[in-house]
């Protein structure tokens, strides 16, 4: 098990190197730092000195890959590639281009509001969608099932932004149940968190409910279900005792992989509700064209995704005794 984990971690390295090379070429080779400086300073009335200064203050005045003027290892370390891409591996993210703040510190403080919203959504959502799908499967072939599927297809055809805007309008403006947006510290924060959580729960009910229903239906045709019925088990026992446990495998594949990414938060949700999490941090960076922050978030996103993949494999051993990791 530990050996397996170790091997998986080693496998992750080339992928992260690939992500790193990709972002490096996207951010520094496709456009030179000069282009970026011109964009940040405004295309018109920009002097070469201003560009130089902009580059120098952000450390972009180094050569791209090899520094011929430096001696020893500094030939390779005193370059943009090393200073701005390789250092990401040590989680040394540098400073934001727009306001010069320490990115690592910002991430460490802003990931918690994101997590506070995303975790309840994840846990409650998983339980709610599984129960909803089980209910549809229990009533399969009846009008309840048909109606449920029609509802799901309609619900997943609605833009996610509609749920947010509609939720804000109904709950905050008409009924005055919750504040329209914002975030608080400590205990008072729950008042701000309820609406975004409920909205994002509702917005993926259609898609996930339908997906889980197909997982359950797929299991219903298996031989062990027929055996269970032949033994005289009731519908409820078959569903909860057998089908649910076996259908957990495909459900887990999709669910566990997103757990690490819960810290990243949702861009749109956080921006609409003014939650100071990583999602709104990313949006602010995009709007301010802060390439350093976007670069960091790309790297962080793929690190968390790979962590999710490893977690998924580990969780298999828990739910499926046939899986042995070596």
């Amino acid at each position: 098990m530990l050996r397996y984990l170790w091997r998986r971690l080693l496998h992750a390295i080339p992928i992260l190197v690939g992500v790193n090379l990709l972002t490096f070429s996207l951010f520094f080779v496709v456009n030179t730092p000069d282009d970026m400086a011109r964009m940040q300073l405004g295309v018109k009335r920009v002097t070469p000195e201003a560009i130089e200064q902009w580059k120098q203050s952000r450390g972009y005045d180094r050569p791209l890959l090899i520094n011929p003027e430096a001696a020893g290892t500094a030939r390779f370390t005193d370059t943009i590639f090393f200073q701005h891409s390789v250092r990401l591996f040590a989680f040394d993210f540098g400073r934001a281009e727009s306001d010069g703040r320490d990115i690592a510190h910002e991430i460490a403080t802003r990931m918690w509001p994101s997590f506070a919203i995303a975790l309840p959504v994840f846990v409650v959502g998983l339980m709610a969608y599984v129960s909803f799908a089980l209910m549809l499967v229990f009533f399969r072939g009846t009008a309840i099932d048909t109606g449920g599927v029609v509802f799901c297809v309609a619900a997943m055809s609605v833009s996610g932004m509609f749920y947010i805007i509609g939720g804000q309008y109904l709950a905050s403006k008409l009924w005055h149940l919750a504040p329209i947006s914002g975030f608080g510290d400590g205990v008072g924060a729950w008042r701000f968190m309820v609406l975004p959580i409920v909205v994002s729960l509702v917005s993926s009910l259609g898609e996930d409910g339908r997906l889980f229903r197909t997982f359950f239906l797929e299991e219903m045709d298996k031989d062990y279900v027929r055996t269970a019925r032949a033994k005289g088990l009731g519908e409820a026992r078959v569903l909860f005792g057998h089908v649910l446990r076996n259908a957990m495998i495909p459900i887990l594949t999709g669910a566990v992989v997103v757990i690490p990414r819960l810290f990243l938060g949702s861009l749109v949700l956080e921006s609409f509700f003014g939650i100071p999490g990583l999602g709104s941090y990313t949006i602010e960076a995009i709007n301010a064209q802060d390439f350093a922050v976007v670069r960091t978030m790309v790297f962080l996103g793929s690190v968390l995704y790979i962590a999710g993949l490893i977690l998924t494999d580990l969780s298999y051993t828990l739910v499926d005794p046939r899986v042995r990791l070596r």
Binding site: P14, I15, G18, V19, L22, T23, L26, F27, V30, N31, D35, M36, R38, M39, V43, R140, G141, V153, A154, M156, S157, V158, S159, G160, M161, F162, I165, Q168, Y169, K173, M220, D221, V225, R226, R229, E235, R261, L264, L267, V268, S271, F272, T282, I283, I286, N287, Q289, F291, V294, R295, M297, V298, G301, S302, Y305, I306
Partner: protein, 487 residues
């Protein structure tokens, strides 16, 4: 001097055209291939699928009209006839839809007005004829401007317009029904009366009754809207006074282009790499797997954001290439499709790799290899046709997701150009208006309703296609255990 009309082919227009050619060629090619036609016949027999296809056809018609662009410029001086001007200066790039909707496009108000309003949405200080000033709702420049007394005349006038629209719709619907029945009768070699009875009693193999009812509903909604839109702003106007109905119609093309051109971009990657990875295995498989694992490990929105930000830098440093707003917006739309395609080919690629791994061991592939058939030929002739159902299902299922994604990306600020009409830009511009008092709801409502109808139709059609094409589902639907499993 007279205004000359010069056709303009924007990048995305060319790709939409290419897509149409590909689909038409595929249809022509599969005309005599029974195994390719059979699944589509099943799609044609599905009621929800055909209803959805009918609705999609209306959207596609609007999108196509909006994809035929031309430029109105000053014509070259007489005598130069035939020689096209290198660049007709300053001419605006318009589409056929723009030309058809000229009254909608030109009659802008000053700011917000509600649907069917005759007066503006907010009070302004008006100067009366005697010089005194009052605060009141000013009359709109165009909405209901022909009415002498809006309070008294507006209701009856709208009713008259709606009645004219319904009458026109009824006429068109009767014509369509007649034409469809005639064509169906000719194909089956029976009389029109027999076919009509079959259609209306629901016995026709293709659910034409549902299709005709759908066409009827769409026409009866559209007819009055179109007739009334010449004298009113049927869906209101937005902040700068543009007609929301026109904006919504223009947004349809953007959504369709994103949904289809992205697929066109993605297919070559997914097909070639997926099949190659599964067929060759070994090193090539490792490399391709590494490629798509790396790409899919980056959160899609972030990769798109990074690429679009970088593209903006490039476009700014080469501003002279993009001579007009339309070209600039179009290039950005194309780029968005390309980058969406690059982020979305990995799923299909993984699917195709898995399927090819299985197919590679099939007897007919082994036999072909034993007979000395080349690798390329085996992949093209023996593997590709057997994974096509996966390709079609995935692309059709992906369409609705892409339409929804456009709105989100435009909101985040990495979507289409702000100058381009799209559901995303409409929602983005209008979302703050919900805080106004009284609420300005019509921009948001029309963007969401049109997007909902489009995506719902796409989803239903995709389901019908999947049910018809997926051999696994088909086997399950016909398996006897299915009937017995209901306790």
């Amino acid at each position: 001097m007279m205004a000359g009309i010069e056709p303009v082919m924007l990048w995305t227009d060319a790709l939409v055209l290419a897509l149409l050619v590909v689909v038409a060629a595929f249809a022509w090619w599969s005309r005599h291939e029974e195994h390719l036609r059979a699944p589509w016949r099943r799609v044609a027999a599905s009621r929800s699928g055909m209803v959805a296809a009918t609705v999609l056809a209306f959207f596609a018609a609007v999108g196509l009209l909006d994809s035929m662009h031309y430029r109105v410029g000053t014509a070259p001086a007489a005598g130069q006839g035939g020689a096209t001007p290198a660049r007709s200066a300053g001419g605006e790039v318009l589409s056929v839809l723009d030309a058809l909707a000229t009254p909608l496009r030109m009659r802008t108000e000053r700011t917000f007005s509600a649907p069917f309003a005759t007066h503006a949405h907010a009070r302004e200080t008006l100067t009366l004829e005697d010089g005194s000033q009052v605060r009141d709702f000013p009359r709109l420049r165009h909405g209901g401007a022909h009415l002498a007394d809006p309070q008294r005349d507006r209701g009856p006038d709208i009713a008259r317009g709606a009645a004219r629209g319904i009458a026109a719709a009824a006429l068109v619907w009767t014509l369509v029904t007649g034409l469809l029945s005639f064509v169906a009768a000719r194909r089956q070699g029976v009389t029109v009366g027999q076919v009509s009875r079959a259609i209306w009693s629901g016995r026709h193999p293709v659910p034409l009754r549902a299709v005709l009812v759908t066409i009827g509903i769409v026409l009866f909604v559209l007819g009055p809207l179109l007739v009334l839109s010449t004298q009113y702003h049927v869906l209101g106007t937005d902040k700068v006074g543009q007609d929301v109905f026109y904006l919504t119609l223009k947004s349809i093309r953007t959504g369709l282009v994103i949904g289809t051109v992205t697929t066109l971009v993605m297919l070559p990657f997914a097909l070639s790499l997926g099949i190659m990875a599964g067929y060759f295995g070994g090193r090539i498989d490792d490399l391709i797997q590494y490629l798509y694992t790396t790409l899919s490990s980056i959160p899609g929105v972030l990769l798109i954001a990074a690429a679009v930000l970088m593209m903006q830098v490039t476009m700014d440093s080469q501003a002279e290439v993009f001579d007009s707003v339309a070209r600039r917006a179009d290039f950005r739309l194309l780029f968005l499709c390309v980058i969406l395609g690059i982020t979305s080919w990995t799923g299909l690629c993984r699917l195709l790799r898995g399927e090819t791994l299985k197919l590679r061991e099939m007897e007919y592939v082994q036999a072909a290899r034993g007979l000395g058939v080349g690798h390329a030929t085996i992949m093209l002739r023996h593997i590709l046709p057997n994974v096509l159902h996966l390709v079609i299902i995935t692309t059709v299922l992906g369409f609705s997701g892409l339409v929804l994604a456009e709105a989100v990306l435009s909101y985040v600020g990495v979507g289409v150009d702000p100058a381009m009409n799209s559901f995303g830009t409409m929602i983005n511009a209008a979302r703050l208006e919900m805080a106004r008092e009284p609420v300005v709801w019509w921009s948001l409502a029309s963007a969401f309703v049109f997007m909902f109808v489009l995506v719902l139709a796409a989803n239903l059609f995709a389901d019908a296609v999947r049910d018809a094409l997926d051999p696994r589902l088909r086997a399950r639907l016909t398996a006897p255990s299915r009937q017995g499993s209901r306790a």
